[in-house]
Subunit: 382 residues, 4 copies
C-alpha cells in the first residue's frame, strides 16, 4: 500500500477484516506500507498492521512478496504509480479519482489493457458502490423494478470549509488536487449515478463557484506574520459544482457537489425515478434504501424503507443478524472481498480503470462547460 | 351546539364545511349556539357562523328548528344534556369522553337505546378515527393484511404543563375534569386501539402519577396574594397514566398518556404488529400511514410510508389532488359527514354511545388498578 | 370569483373560513361566481357558497356589490380580466402564474401601477408563501439566522402523467397552458426560492424534456376511433424542467420541476444553506421546518424539526393548540386574511404583480436557455 | 475467549481493531480461543484471528499468556467460568446477561469484589452503552440538559420468530436460556435506561406472553418423524415481556421486549423526557441522537437530529471524518478500548458485575410480577 492517511486507514481495515467475515480464495498478506518519511511510515505500518516499510514506491515493484499495489496517495501521483505497477505485473487497486486529467486516465486505461492480457487486474476505488443499499439499488434497476429511467438526482453535500478562516490546505490548491468539490466528491456521485442506472452520461451543462477566494496559509493559520497580519493565499479550486445532463438512454440528471452545505456532513443523496418505480438513498442513513413500487395498488403504495441488513441483501449476510447496522468502512471491506475473488478467479474487477476514465471524462466536460459559461458540452467517448 | 370553546370552534368549522366538499343528503343549518353568558355566546355565534343564541340548553330541546344537539361542553355536563336531548327526540353528537363516570355513561347508553327505537341517533366524538390514515389502518386490519394481532403500542404525548408555574386550570381539578391525562388524551388512544384492531381490551394494569402536586391558582397566577406570595392549590388529577393490558383476542397492548413529554406537542402514536404485517401512525405526521407487509420478499420488504391522499383512500378523494395534505380539523368534518349521512339514511353512527361506554369502562379499570397498587383489573363488560 | 375548478374550490374555502379564525377588518361577502356555463356555474355557486352567478366576467366589473375580483381561470385569460378589473377600480387577486407571457405580465404590472394610484390593490396567488413553515423560513433568513446564503436547492416533484396512456388534457397543450411543468409547478419553486431568500435570480441555464411526445386525445381516451385505434395528438409542453442559476447576491441555485417523479405526489422541497445555518422544507411534511443553527456547539448541533404550530409561529396561533396540524387549504386562507387586511389598511399586498412578473421573467429565461441548447441566459430586469 | 458464535465474532473483531484506531496502553494478544469441539474451535480460531485453541476452559486459567478471559458462552455457564477466572487472577469480560439467576449473579459480584482487592478487573458486556449516540445521551443527562427526568420509554423489538414453524432452538428453552425476550433483549433496555438516566428502577409491574406454545423440534424441522408428522416441543420461555415501573428518582418508565414485532429487526428505542428537555434514540438509526432543548425559544425549538460523528462526540473522533457512519460492531470495539485502558490504569470498568446484578434484579422482579398476576413488585437492592 502506498500512502497511509485517511484512505490508507480505511483500506488497511478492509484488508485486515475481509477474510474474517467472508470466505476468500486467497489470504491477504499486508506485506509492506510505503511512505516517503521512514519514521512516519514505520509508525503507520505498526498502527495499521503492515509488516514492513518502504520509502520509495518503486521498491514495491521489485519485491516478490508484493502481488498487488494499493494506491492511496493524492490524485496527481496515481498515473505514474499505477502504470508502473501494472507494467511490472502487479495487480492494482487505485483510489478515486483515477487521475487528475483525462490524458493521465487514458494512459492508465492503456496500461490496464496491456496488463490484462497478462492476467494482471486493476480496479478503481469507488467504494460507495459497495454500500449494501447502493448495491441493492443497482439490482432493482437491473431487475427492471424501476422501468425506463426518467430522472436521476444526485447530491454530495459537505460543510467543512464554510468558515472563511479555514486554512488553505492542499485540497484547495489546483496544482495538487486537480479540482475542488468536483473531483473530490462530485466524482463519487457521477460514478454512483452511472453505476446504479447502468447507463452513461452523454452531455452536461455546469456551473462552478469559489465562494471564499482567499484563505489563511496553513502556516499562518496558527500564527501571525511579521507584520502582525495573517498571510493569505488564493483558493484555486471550486468550492461547489452544479451540473445537469442527459444520459445516453434519455434520462435527465442533476448533480450538486459542495463543501458549503452547512450542517450536511457527508450527505450523499441519490434519487432515481423511472416508469415503474423510484429509489432514494442518503448516505446519512446508509443502511436504508427507499423504494417505491409503481405497480402496487395506489391505496397501499408508498416509499418503503428497506433496512438493507437481510441475509438476502448484497454483502449483508456475512456480517450480523438483520437490523444490526454496518458503517462507512464496510464499503471498503466489500471492495477488497470482490477484488481478491476476482484476482483469484481471473475475472476483471469493477469499477475498472475504464469506468474511472468515464468518470474523468464527465468531470472534464463539467469543467469545460463551467469555463465556457455553462454551455452544453458533449462527453467524449472513452 | 352547546359550548363554543376549542371543540366548539372545531365542530363549527366541520358543520360549515362538510357540505362544501362532500355530497350530503341533508343540508346542515347552524341554527343556534348555546352558552350561559349571552354576550359571549352572541360573539361566538357571529364568529363561528350560528344564526341564533340561547343561554339555557333546555331551550334547544323545545325548538322545532333543532334536529340535532352537538354537545361541546366539559364532561361533567354530558350525561344530563345528552339524555334530555335524546329523550326529547333530538339526535345527539357528544364530545368525548362520553361522561366522567361509568354510571353516567351507562345511563347515556340506555337513553341512546330508547331513542334509537324512535329513529333518533347518537354518536360520540372520537374524531381521530376519521383521520384518513387511521381509517386506512382500520381497513388494512379488517382486510386481514396484518393477520393475527400480537402487539398494540399506543402513546399520547403532550407537554403543556411541564412548567410547575403553569396555573391550576379546571382540567387539573378532579371535580370538573374527572381525571387528567387519562380521560383527556388516554381516552383517545384507548378508542383508537380498539377501533383499529376491531377488538376489546379485557384487562389492564396501571400506574398513574402527579408530578407537580401544587400549582398557582389561576387568579393568583397573574398577581400576588395579600401576603406577597402566590397562592397555590392541589392538583387532584393525574399528570400521566401508563397501563398495559390484554385484548380479548389475545394481543398485548401498552398505553401511555402524559402531559409531561417535553417537546411532544400532540404526538398520538399507534403501532400494531401482527402475524402478517405491521402498522405505525404518528399524528405529528397525520397524513401518513406506515405499513409493513410481512408477506413480501425479504429483499424488498420494508415499512412503506403511504401518503394517505389518494382518491382511493378514505375521505381523501373529496378534497384535493394527491399529495395535498389535510389537517386536524378535517377529522371533524369527516365525522359530521358520516353523522349526517347516517341520520338521513336511518343508520346507527359509530362510534356509538356504547363504544363510548366501553372506553369509559377501560378508563375506570385503569383508575382502579392504579389505586390498588397496579393490580391486574378485569374490564367490566358493557 | 371567476372560475370554479380546483383553484376555485380552494379560494372559496379560504373566503368562507378566513373570518372564522382571524379577526378581519372587513367581512368577505361571496357575492358572485362567474362561469360560462350557467347551469354548471349555478351548481358550483351553491356548492361553494356564492350567492349569485354571472356567465360573463365583464358583468362583474359593473356590479356595485363587487369590490374585488378573484381570478381562478387558466393563465391565458389572466391578463385581460385582471387589467379590465383593475381599470374598473376592482381589487384583484390573480392566481399564478401571473400570465402566460412576459408581455402580458408587463401589461398587468402597468395596470396594477395605475390602479394603485387610485387605492386599488392587486395580488398574485403564490399560496405556498403562506404555509406557516415557509413563512417561518423567511423570518429566519430575514433575522440573519442563516447568514450569507450560498445554496438554494428547490424541487417540485409530481407523478400524475407517468402513464403514457394518460390523455392529452389541456395542461399538456402549449396554446392553452403556456408551458408544462415549468409554468405550472416550476413557477411555485422560483417564487418560493426568491421569497425565502429575499433575493432575485440573475441568470439561469436550463434543460427541458418531453418524455412522452404523443398521447391519446381526451375524447379518444374513453373510446376508439372509427378505425378501431386510439387517436393521439402531440404533447406540446415540457414534462420536466431542470435549471440552475445565480442569485444577485451570489448564491447558487438549482431547480427541478417534473411530472415524472414516480411516487412523489406533490413534493415541494426547498433547502437553503448559508454561512450561519441551513433550512429544509418538504411540502409532504408541510407542518415542519428543518433548521440547522451553525452557531451551536458541534456536540449538540443538528437539524431541528420545528413543528410549526406554536402560537408564536406565523398564522398558527389563530387555529388550534400546538401539535394540531394544518393542511394545504390553510395557505389560501392565510392569503385571503392578509389580502383583506391590506385592502382595508390601504397597504400593498405581496406577492405583488411585480413579483409575479419577476417569476415570469425567470420562466422566460429558462425557456429561452432550454431552446438555445442550455446556454447561460441573463434574466431581464422587471 | 470462550465461545465463538455470534458474540465471539463480534468480540474478536473488537479485539483485533481496538488498537488500530485508538491508542491503547496495552497491546491485545489474541492468545487462545476455547471451544469444546477441537475441529470447530480450530477453524474459528483461524477465521477470527486467535493464535491457539483449547477445548477445556479451565486450561485458560493455567496459561501464563492469558491475562484476561472473555466469556462469550450462553448465560448458564457464565457464573462458573467467571468466578473461577477471577479467582485465578484473570481479568474477566463477561457477555450479558451476567447470569441466568440472581443467586448466580450475586456469587459473581462477590468474586469480582474479591478479585478487585488483588487488582483484577471485571466487566459485563452491555455493548450498547458505547454506541456514540447513547454515550452522548448519557452525557447530556449528566450535564443537566434534560433536567428532572419524568419519563423513560424503552422498547426492544425484533421479529425473528413470528413464523410458528420457526424451530424450537435453545433460545426458546428455559433450562438453557433462562428466559426469552426478557433476558435476551429486555436486559439491554433495562441497562440502557438505567445507564442513560443514572438512576435505578425501584419497582415494576409486568406481563409476559408466549404466543406460540409449541414449535417443531430443530431436528424435525428439516424432516419428518416416522409417522410422517413434524415433531413438536413446548416453548418454555416468554415471546414478549411488557413492564412499567418507577425509578428511585421518581421517573416513570415503560419497557417492551418482543420477538413478535413484524418488520422490526433490531429496533432498540429509548426516549427520555425531563423538565428541561428530551432525548430519543433508535438503534435502526444508530448514528443519530434526537435532542429537544426545552429552554430554547418556542419559535425555533424542535427535536434536533444530531449526527453523532463529530470529533467532539464520544469515541467518534478515533474513526472517520464527520458524517461517515459507524456500525453495530463498533460498540464492541469501544468496549474493549475502555476495558484495556481501565485494566492498564488500575481503574474499575463499567458496567461492573454489580451493574449486571442490578439488571438481573430487575429481570427477576419482572418475572415474579408476571407470575403473580402483574402485581407491583419492589426490586431488591443489590
Amino acid at each position: 500500500m502506498v500512502g497511509y492517511a485517511f484512505m490508507g486507514a480505511a483500506h488497511s481495515q478492509a484488508w485486515r477484516s475481509a477474510g474474517r467475515f467472508f470466505d476468500l480464495p486467497l489470504e491477504p498478506d499486508l506485506a509492506v506500507l510505503c511512505g516517503r518519511d521512514a519514521a512516519a511510515a514505520g509508525a503507520a505500518a505498526r498502527k495499521l498492521g503492515w509488516r514492513s516499510v518502504e520509502t520509495d514506491w518503486k521498491q514495491l515493484l521489485r519485491r516478490d512478496d508484493v502481488a498487488l499495489v494499493d494506491i492511496c496517495t493524492p490524485g496527481d501521483t496515481h498515473a505514474e504509480i499505477a502504470t508502473a505497477a501494472l507494467d511490472a505485473g502487479k495487480h492494482v487497486l487505485c483510489e478515486k479519482p483515477l487521475a487528475n486529467s483525462v490524458d493521465e486516465a487514458r494512459a492508465m486505461v492503456a496500461a490496464a489493457e496491456r496488463a490484462r492480457a497478462a492476467g494482471v487486474r486493476s480496479m478503481v476505488g469507488f467504494n460507495y458502490r459497495r454500500v449494501p443499499a447502493v448495491a441493492l439499488a443497482r439490482q432493482l434497476v437491473a431487475d427492471g423494478r424501476i422501468g425506463q429511467i426518467r430522472h436521476v438526482r444526485a447530491q454530495y453535500l459537505q460543510d467543512w470549509i464554510v468558515d472563511p478562516e479555514f486554512p488553505l490546505v492542499w485540497r484547495l490548491q489546483a496544482e495538487k488536487a486537480g479540482s475542488g468539490a468536483l473531483g473530490d466528491i462530485g466524482a463519487h456521485i457521477v460514478d454512483l449515478a452511472q453505476f446504479v442506472t447502468g447507463d452513461r452520461l452523454a452531455g452536461v451543462t455546469a456551473l462552478t463557484e469559489t465562494f471564499i477566494t482567499e484563505r489563511p496559509l496553513p502556516a499562518a493559520s496558527s500564527g501571525l506574520s511579521a507584520s502582525g497580519s495573517v498571510e493569505r493565499g488564493p483558493v484555486t479550486v471550486d468550492d461547489a459544482a452544479l451540473f445537469f445532463g442527459r444520459f445516453a438512454g434519455g434520462a435527465l440528471a442533476s448533480f450538486e457537489a459542495t463543501r458549503f452545505a452547512t450542517g450536511r456532513k457527508n450527505a450523499i443523496r441519490l434519487e432515481v425515478n423511472g416508469s415503474a418505480g423510484s429509489l432514494a438513498f442518503d448516505f446519512e442513513s446508509m443502511n436504508e434504501l427507499s423504494f417505491y413500487d409503481g405497480t402496487e395498488d395506489p391505496s397501499t403504495a408508498g416509499f418503503r424503507r428497506i433496512l438493507v441488513t437481510e441475509p438476502t441483501h448484497p454483502y449483508a449476510g456475512a456480517w450480523w443478524p438483520p437490523g444490526h447496522l454496518l458503517g462507512y468502512e464496510h464499503s471498503f471491506t466489500h471492495e477488497i472481498v470482490d477484488l481478491v475473488r476476482d484476482v483469484a478467479n481471473g475475472a476483471d474487477p469493477r469499477p475498472s480503470f475504464l469506468d474511472g476514465l468515464q468518470v474523468q471524462l464527465v468531470l472534464d466536460a463539467v469543467a469545460r462547460s463551467a469555463a465556457a459559461g455553462s454551455s452544453w458540452t458533449e462527453i467524449e467517448t472513452s
